[in-house]
């Protein structure tokens, strides 16, 4: 009897938690929805509030796509400008945040392709390295000895970002969305308009490619 009571209580707790989370999510989407509606009616402060809420995340995503603060600044502004201009087309089928990150991903991917075509990352790599690559590799700490500490170092962070820059656009976007921005598979599938299975397998392939790159540089 006490055992069944415990089970019932734990189920109840789970249900309450689920309801609270659902309400929180709904409140969030409602809040965004209100701001979107007000922006559509011409209230600039409403759009400012939306920007305030998402600009850090969008900037970070932009930075991961282009790997440079100046470019990231321009790209993030372009994303918000595009969102503002196209807000009238937003019908509210999905959450505003999903729609915004969809724009961000598309723009980020396009900017990345554009820069890559122009050899931006090659030139940037050469300018940043200055010295030859061997010297740099010799100075890289051995990650395998103390991964937690080493991964936090600026040098490793730069190496990881460089490795991300070398990925192809499809792999890059999925790594950024899942491993860096922390979106769920369901959200990523919705953002990229892909089946969830494809999302997972593509992420695995992207990680494998990155693994090889990092292994080559860090080991």
């Amino acid at each position: 009897m006490p055992h069944s009571l415990e089970t019932i209580l734990s189920c109840l707790c789970l249900n309450i938690l689920a309801v609270v989370m659902f309400c929180a999510a709904k409140a969030e989407s409602d809040e965004d929805g209100d701001l979107v509606e007000r922006t559509k009616r011409g209230a600039r402060d409403a759009f400012d509030a939306l920007v305030e809420k998402y600009y850090k995340k969008i900037y970070n995503l932009a930075y991961r796509f282009v790997g440079d603060t100046e470019e990231a600044n321009d790209l993030a502004q372009e994303i918000f400008a595009a969102a503002y201009q196209n807000l009238k087309k937003f019908r509210g089928d999905a959450k505003f945040s999903t729609w915004l990150f969809q724009i961000a991903t598309n723009r980020g991917k396009n900017r990345f392709k554009y820069l890559k075509r122009r050899g931006y990352f090659v030139n940037k790599g050469l300018a940043d390295n200055g010295d030859d690559r061997e010297t740099q590799q010799r100075s890289v700490p051995d990650v395998s000895t103390n991964p937690e500490t080493m991964l936090a170092s600026k040098q490793i962070q730069k190496i990881v970002q460089d490795a991300i820059n070398e990925l192809d656009p499809d792999h890059k976007e999925i790594v950024i969305l899942r491993d860096i921005e922390g979106f769920s598979y369901e959200e990523i599938a919705q953002l990229l308009n892909l089946p969830e299975g494809t999302t997972k397998s593509r992420l695995h392939r992207a990680r494998m490619v990155l693994k090889e790159k990092l292994k080559r540089v860090l080991s």
Binding site: S144, P147, S219
Partner: protein, 302 residues
């Protein structure tokens, strides 16, 4: 696919703890015995951790101010002009196939426009055009001074009427027809957009009859005869007047070969519109949709 590959394909599930218990046992057994896969899994884990541990990059302090000035200073995209502006602004990021398609479209459009436009005067014919301009001016002058006589004679023969009409049209607008059509390939006769037949160059400038003043009429005539097969033309009639060193050729050529013919003639001397009233054959010059009959009088220039 060997076992190591199969196992490495399960790294994702292993990392995310989504393997079934049986599969997990098999994978762990394999990892226990395979150094290579163990090493790979370690690096897979490091990669994922490295990605998750990437620091969040903070935007510049004036980001919001910059953004506000960017968004609110630009006009709202209500007009078509703004729509195209936005479209063009996004063009640098268009993928390569779109660029190639756009280029191909531009080339095709250019080709269509070029084909439908009046034939331009090409640079290599500029000197020829200037020669013809002077010819037309002199013809116009001749027409204005002997206009009444020309009309009287035209009553006697159809070709004269044709000649007189041509000169009138030239003199009425001396800079018109030749400026736009001189020495370029004549527009083929055919139906225009409105259904009416389009005039040939010969019609416009009245040059279905030409006079060539050459130092050596004989070589000019021979040269013309030689080139006729090359322009798909043929000699219809030939008449010589030995006493005054004059030869008249009637040639049938495709309308499109008119410029080549006149270019060739200019090499041998001055070309003027009109074959001369006295020398014209009784048959009237004719044109149809594909070809034109030209009466060319060769006279000595000394």
């Amino acid at each position: 696919m060997n076992e190591c590959e199969r196992i490495s394909n399960l790294f994702w599930e292993l990392q995310e703890q989504q393997l079934g218990s049986n599969t997990e046992r098999i994978v762990k057994e394999h990892l226990h015995n395979c150094t290579c896969c163990r090493e790979d899994l370690k690096w897979y884990g490091i990669t994922v951790k490295a990605l998750i541990n990437l620091d969040s990059v903070a935007p510049p302090e004036d980001f919001l101010a910059q953004l506000r000035s960017r968004i609110y200073s630009s006009p709202t995209p209500s007009s078509y002009l703004q729509y195209f502006k936005n479209l063009l602004a996004s063009s640098p990021y268009m993928p390569l196939p779109v660029g190639v398609s756009a280029l191909a479209l531009i080339v095709v459009l250019g080709f269509v426009v070029y084909n439908n436009a009046p034939n331009p005067v090409t640079p290599h014919t500029t000197t020829v055009q200037s020669s013809l301009d002077s010819v037309v001016r002199s013809s116009a002058l001749a027409s204005s001074t002997s206009g009444s006589t020309g009309h009287k004679q035209s009553d006697k023969g159809g070709a004269d009427r044709f000649l007189a009409r041509g000169l009138e049209s030239t003199s009425s607008n001396p800079s018109g027809p030749l400026t736009s059509y001189a020495m370029s390939a004549p527009r083929p006769l055919g139906e225009s957009v409105t259904g009416r037949p389009l005039p040939t160059v010969a019609d416009i400038i009245g040059a279905d009859n030409l006079t060539v003043e050459s130092r050596s009429t004989k070589s000019a005539v021979e040269s013309l005869k030689k080139m006729l097969p090359n322009i798909e033309g043929r000699l219809v009639h030939e008449r010589s007047q030995d006493g005054i060193d004059e030869t008249i050729l009637a040639v049938l050529i495709p309308s499109t070969s008119y410029s080549r013919l006149t270019t060739e003639l200019i090499k041998h001397g001055t070309v003027a519109a009109g074959a001369g009233s006295g020398a014209l054959p009784p048959t009237r010059s004719t044109t149809d949709n594909d070809s034109v009959v030209l009466y060319i009088r060769f006279v000595n220039s000394h």
